[in-house]
Point group: C2
Chain length 346, copies 2
């Protein structure tokens, strides 16, 4: 039936509230099953179809935001996406997820709001989008960046202090008596801000401990994957003086690095202590469990969603804000001081 | 400029093809950088904004499909989503991803195409959507189900043979001489088709080997998570006669189960052989690496996308098809016959 509205459905369903109909349409779980059935039947009978375009025209908003991440297949981003969906649900807002593949053109397209004309705003975790490109582009929808940037970007911005977190991770290894501390995650491309910030923290910790930067202990990696972590660790173990500890710039790198240690017939932390970054789920269950920097993903997501909704509801010209979410260092088996760990081969 | 079209942008950009402009707008990586810049400048100058609604009105299609999965945070679904994005890109189709949380109401909403009026069709990995509900609902857009269903569903359907795969996994443990083979993944809810099919395969393999079903070796789990895998393994190891092998119905369960074995001071595969299901990335790098059933996710994604696009382009009343994708058993360290593995504590 053309022109059917929530109100008609609510009446047909026996006089439930419009809010209840809205909850059912959105798949909200808090609706009691008999009520849900009545509303669904009413929707069927009236052939009601929620019209996002109509809602958009009426309110100027669709109630949908986009989240663009470089790769969903990286558990950190899947966990972050889940946290964003939960934070948005608190505001009755839906999230459409896009996977940019870390491609700058795709990131730019998303940042400019070109990808879907119905979205109210965009949360973007950029990998290689550069300042010049972003500053130069006109944006059609509010944008909040989620993740570290080295440069000033004309957008709201939610992140953790990566330099400080990396410094703490490295200091944790040094505090356990390790002296030849490598880092896996250095990258040469100047656009890879994440790598540069974590490298800076690593170097600061070395300096504070009076240790020099030994370039052979900081191999370059093309990406933060398990495979590259494994290969980098193999290189490090082949050195005349291999490291006794490694700070990996992501848990995926760390997971590959641990595998590389075992493939060489050595153990973690007996021969090499390993700490990662991200606190993804699988490293908590790994053998040995992985020490890591745990960004507060729920808080990151909440700050990002709140910032975006504020920007959508408010002044598009208001000054841009940068918000920091907390993180903590989680010490687990992979950096235990007692080298006689149960996963050791001896 | 109102009424600006791809053609205008193509001309302004110095006479590139319309296809090239389309590629740039969609973030396609195959466009050379100088060309991409020219097109972006032309888009800026003309203030061109692709209008999905207009495209939709003109062609009847938006070039966007939705993929709904129960939880992106489960690596299997993140990997499947990535494969679907890649398969869709081959057809110049974009994918919007929705996380249903495994909630039947959300699954139903997606299946009926209520979630976004602009999408051309829906790929749905349902967890608990039941036949009665789905059959009864009128659907607004073509739907393809991705994943196992026990019952006849009025929709196209892409899956692997779960019963056979589970039987092979169990037979693999039996072939290595194990005789007290447990299973972690049994569920009581009749809607959890995945669990029931894998349970059936497990029981078939036991029967073929002349072994009885020992109920205490098949504890119920509420969900396929690492935590539940770990707890189930602890229960099994506390039995007077603990198992010497376990078939886990997912790699997440298996990952938790392996952790449970080490927490009890025992080793994999020395004391307990473990095989999983899904072939997610982290279990390939785990110590010990995990044997598993590897569904061909690329093929699953390709079959699903092709089926959906055929249904979108063709006859909505054509008979529904069921397509099977291949899988293979991958034997790794966690089921090695040589119990003197390097991760063992002895």
């Amino acid at each position: 039936m053309a022109g059917t509205r929530l109100k008609d459905v609510a009446e047909r369903a026996g006089g439930v509230s419009i809010k209840t109909v809205s909850n059912v349409v959105r798949g909200n779980v808090r609706v009691a099953e008999p009520t849900r059935r009545r509303v669904l039947d009413a929707i069927d009978e009236l052939d009601y179809r929620p019209n996002a375009s109509a809602r958009h025209l009426r309110t100027g908003r669709s109630g949908v935001i986009a989240l663009a991440v470089p790769e969903l297949v990286a558990p950190y981003f899947a966990e972050l996406a889940t946290a964003v969906i939960e934070a948005a649900r608190e505001h009755d807002v839906s999230v459409l997820i896009e996977d940019t593949g870390g491609d700058p053109a795709a990131e730019l397209r998303v940042a400019c709001g070109l990808s879907d004309p119905l979205i109210d705003g965009v949360l973007l975790s950029p990998i290689r989008l550069d300042q010049a490109t972003l500053a130069h582009r006109e944006r059609r929808v509010p944008l909040v960046l989620l993740g570290e940037r080295d440069f000033e970007v004309p957008a709201d911005h939610v992140l953790i202090d990566n330099v400080l977190a990396a410094e703490e991770a490295t200091a944790h290894l040094l505090a356990s008596g390790r002296r030849r501390v490598a880092a896996i995650g250095f990258q040469s491309d100047p656009l890879f801000t994440t790598s540069h910030q974590r490298a800076r923290g690593y170097l600061r910790a070395l300096e504070a401990a009076g240790l020099p930067h030994v370039p052979e202990l900081t191999p370059l990696v093309p990406a933060f994957t398990r495979t590259h972590g494994m290969h980098a660790m193999r290189e490090l173990l082949a050195l005349p003086e291999p490291p006794d500890a490694v700070f990996c710039f992501s848990d995926l790198l760390a997971s590959g690095a641990v595998r590389g240690v075992y493939d060489a017939g050595r153990t973690v932390p007996g021969d090499v202590a390993v700490i990662g970054f991200d606190d993804i789920e699988d490293t908590r269950f790994a053998v040995p469990s992985l020490s890591t920097i745990a960004p507060d993903k729920r808080q990151l997501a909440k700050l990002a969603v709140d910032s975006l909704l504020t920007r959508i509801a408010g002044d598009p010209e208001a000054p841009h804000t940068t918000l920091y979410a907390p993180y903590r260092l989680v010490a687990r088996e992979s950096t235990a001081r007692d080298a006689g760990n149960r996963t050791g081969g001896t």
